[in-house]
Symmetry: C2
Subunit: 210 residues, 2 copies
């Protein structure tokens, strides 16, 4: 029932059919969008990946969220007044679908097929997003670095139906995702290896428990 919406097929058909939607390609490190309140812009990653970055007054930058294929993003999902500027930056060459949220409520003049498909299909993408956010909260809720790592590994292991799996993030990015210090994470991973909880070979990890 959930996620039976085929966005790939959907996107192939709609591009030419509706004047309220854009498909744009961005090069690596290009700014895809900035979060501007009440613009109600919605974006979907069709190809590539992007980071939502915050630059605070000290000039520190931080990855707030990472978007991969079919992830949906935009200021409309992020009604948080942080006083810092938020940019979405392409991590690699990326294709992005861009439209306005009012497309949900206002039909376009031609009453094109896109609108019906969009209102039917988008909720599933948003559901997936909610689930991803809940997952991250679940991980950030763990009290220790060890718990965060083991929980994260368990999830990857279950996704792959295999005790051995490939990390989908670099270790630097993983520490960032879990909001822990990278060196402290390395220390804990070393302990996990030494104590026999995991085995590690390059970016392949085997979970020895559960």
């Amino acid at each position: 029932m959930k996620n039976n919406f085929n966005i790939e097929k959907f996107c192939q058909n709609l591009i030419s059919s509706c004047d309220k939607i854009q498909e744009k390609t961005f090069e690596k490190n290009e700014i895809i969008t900035t979060y501007i309140v009440n613009r109600n812009q919605v974006c979907i990653v069709l190809e590539g990946s992007a980071d939502l970055m915050r630059y605070d007054f000290n000039g520190n930058q931080m990855v707030v969220e990472r978007f991969n294929k079919f992830d949906i993003f935009g200021e409309i999902f992020y009604q948080i007044n942080t006083n810092n500027e938020l940019f979405v930056i392409a991590k690699e060459k990326s294709k992005i679908l861009i439209f306005n949220y009012d497309i949900f409520e206002k039909r376009c003049k031609k009453n094109c097929k896109f609108h019906e498909e969009l209102t039917l299909g988008l909720p599933n993408l948003v559901l997936t997003k909610v689930s991803d956010l809940n997952l991250r909260i679940e991980l950030l809720s763990k009290k220790t670095i060890r718990d965060k790592l083991i929980s994260y590994f368990k999830i990857l292991s279950e996704k792959n139906f295999n005790k051995t799996f490939t990390l989908d993030l670099s270790l630097t990015d993983l520490a960032d995702y879990l909001r822990i210090d990278r060196s402290a994470m390395m220390r804990e991973m070393k302990l996990l290896k030494e104590e026999g909880f995991i085995k590690k070979n390059g970016d392949k990890i085997t979970l020895m428990i559960m």
Copy 2:
């Protein structure tokens, strides 16, 4: 544009109109639902409040998420395999709207007005949910207890357009929401008071900075 959907009015009209939706009342501490994979049940709080609780194998219980008026919840938003059971429990006498997510795709026989209003109105509730989750991730991302507290206070202050505001959670619940030890939080709040960053009087707090 966002949130112009009036759920209150909406709910008054629909109850009798559709056989695929239920409105149920729960007493304090009653179990509203448990998260069962692929049941695709969706719930909306009409009145009262509820906690999503996890009970792990050690018998420890934890509040995963709190739901207040017009919050939307259900397993469909929480596709996380935790191996622990998840219950939603009424914190007080509460009225809950319960339906199945397939209502989005399957019209009911009478083709009742409810379905159109639901598909139009629900996305806004979900958007708000996404925003709330992002806010919590923002808070959980802060490195120190101090940063978490100040960020949380800033948000309340901005919501109220006032440096002085009322805490909407008990201190115990706040520590839980921010995933920090309550006594460590109390210690930090004491320091914040002593250093003049905040003033506190009962559940009223005044933010002295920014």
